[in-house]
């Protein structure tokens, strides 16, 4: 099989549905809907996250709705539980999301433990995931990079595990590639790095490690030029995936190996030797 064939059959499959893009993006923190749409178009993402919030009662009845800008017919919307610190809040939020999106069951679960770090509370996350799975949701779950927690989430039926690379919105990149590697090696569901990516190389590294996808929001929304960063992220995810599939060369510390033939090099020492003999 040549490289083109490998790429052609390369889809990300989540809960039985195939996606050609391995970049998932959020829709928060953009200055307006036009910028949101431009960045998402440039990212090529098919799965986009949205938050569920109370309506602003009595304010701007003609205010545009995010779902008019990003219609569910064009994208796979992934409602999240951002801002939820309890099982009850997370479950209620996603039940409302399912109703809002006409029975849509693919969701992103996150149950946070601390407003300063937004680090996930894994005990509560596991409880919420169990309830949601019983109710028929397809749960993509935000998790710490703890390989045991990730495995437990897979075992109870989550359709994707999404470990953080570093804290949400921090842009600190991949702080523990070793843990991510253990999670990837053990997983039988897609592993998607969620949170912490800061720039294109971070996304490429995640994919080179063997992640199945990358989910990001702030790295694009907080760039000086969000659509351009979205385009960079698209390429980085593709480049990282291809490098992973291609299989990188082994690292050879203290053992340099020239790329060019070692035979037939012109040799000035023989010239000097010749001169010496003539003199």
């Amino acid at each position: 099989m040549d490289g083109v064939e490998i790429r052609a059959m390369e889809n990300l499959v989540i809960a039985g549905k195939a996606y050609s893009s391995r970049l998932l993006v959020g829709t928060g923190k953009y200055k307006d809907f036009a910028e949101t749409r431009a960045a998402i178009d440039a990212s090529g993402a098919e799965i986009i996250t949205v938050a569920i919030r109370r309506t602003n009662l009595g304010q701007n009845p003609d205010e545009p709705n995010l779902l008019d800008v990003l219609p569910p017919s064009q994208y796979t919307l992934l409602p999240n539980t951002a801002g939820c610190y309890t099982v009850e809040d997370a479950v209620r939020t996603l039940r409302l999301a399912r109703e809002l999106l006409d029975g849509h069951t693919l969701v992103k679960l996150e149950v946070l433990g601390d407003p300063k770090t937004l680090y996930p509370n894994m005990v509560e996350t596991l409880k919420a995931a169990e309830i949601l799975i019983k109710e028929g949701f397809h749960v993509m779950v935000y998790t710490s990079d703890d390989p045991i927690a990730a495995k437990q989430l897979e075992e109870i039926g989550c359709v994707a595990v999404m470990p953080l690379a570093s804290l949400i919105g921090s842009g600190m990149g991949i702080l523990n590639p070793w843990n991510l590697q253990i999670i990837i090696e053990n997983a039988h569901v897609p592993v998607i790095v969620d949170a912490g990516v800061g720039t294109a190389s971070d996304a490429a590294i995640a994919m080179e490690l063997g992640c199945d996808g990358v989910l990001m929001n702030t790295a694009i929304a907080a760039a000086r030029n969000p659509p351009l960063m979205a385009s960079a992220m698209k390429k980085a995810v593709e480049a990282g995936r291809e490098a992973y599939l291609a299989g990188r060369m082994a690292k050879k510390l203290y053992n340099a190996s020239p790329s060019s033939p070692v035979e037939g090099i012109i040799d000035s020492s023989s010239l000097r030797k010749g001169k010496g003999q003539a003199a």
């Binding site: 959020g26 829709t27 928060g28 923190k29 953009y30 949101t36 996250t49 949205v50 938050a51 569920i52 919030r53 109370r54 309506t55 009662l57 009595g58 009845p61 709705n65 995010l66 779902l67 008019d68 919307l77 409602p79 999240n80 951002a82 209620r92 939020t93 039940r95 409302l96 999301a97 399912r98 109703e99 809002l100 999106l101 949400i168 919105g169 989910l215 990001m216 929001n217 702030t218 929304a221």
Partner: protein, 81 residues
């Protein structure tokens, strides 16, 4: 007037006009969710409603009669990561 808690805030809701009541034989004099949404300017929007912790399907907005003290959550999708 009945008082409802909508999105965590108390909200006084006027009783429906007599003309509408005539068409609501089985609903007595209560206010239904469709009427509440019209009053709030949210009719026809992409929203979801929870009443006292339970989802109310869109198909049941007309027949769900609200009573004094009901707690309602009305949500939309917004940008988020």
């Amino acid at each position: 007037m009945i008082q409802l808690i909508v999105n965590g805030q108390p909200h006084r809701f006027p009783a429906p006009p007599q003309a509408e009541l005539k068409n609501q034989d089985r609903n007595d004099a209560g206010v239904n969710i469709t009427q509440l949404l019209e009053h709030m300017g949210s009719q026809g929007k992409r929203i979801a409603v929870e009443r006292n912790g339970e989802i109310v399907p869109r198909s049941k907005f007309d027949q769900t009669i609200l009573v004094e003290g009901d707690r309602l959550e009305i949500v939309v999708a917004v940008g988020g990561g």
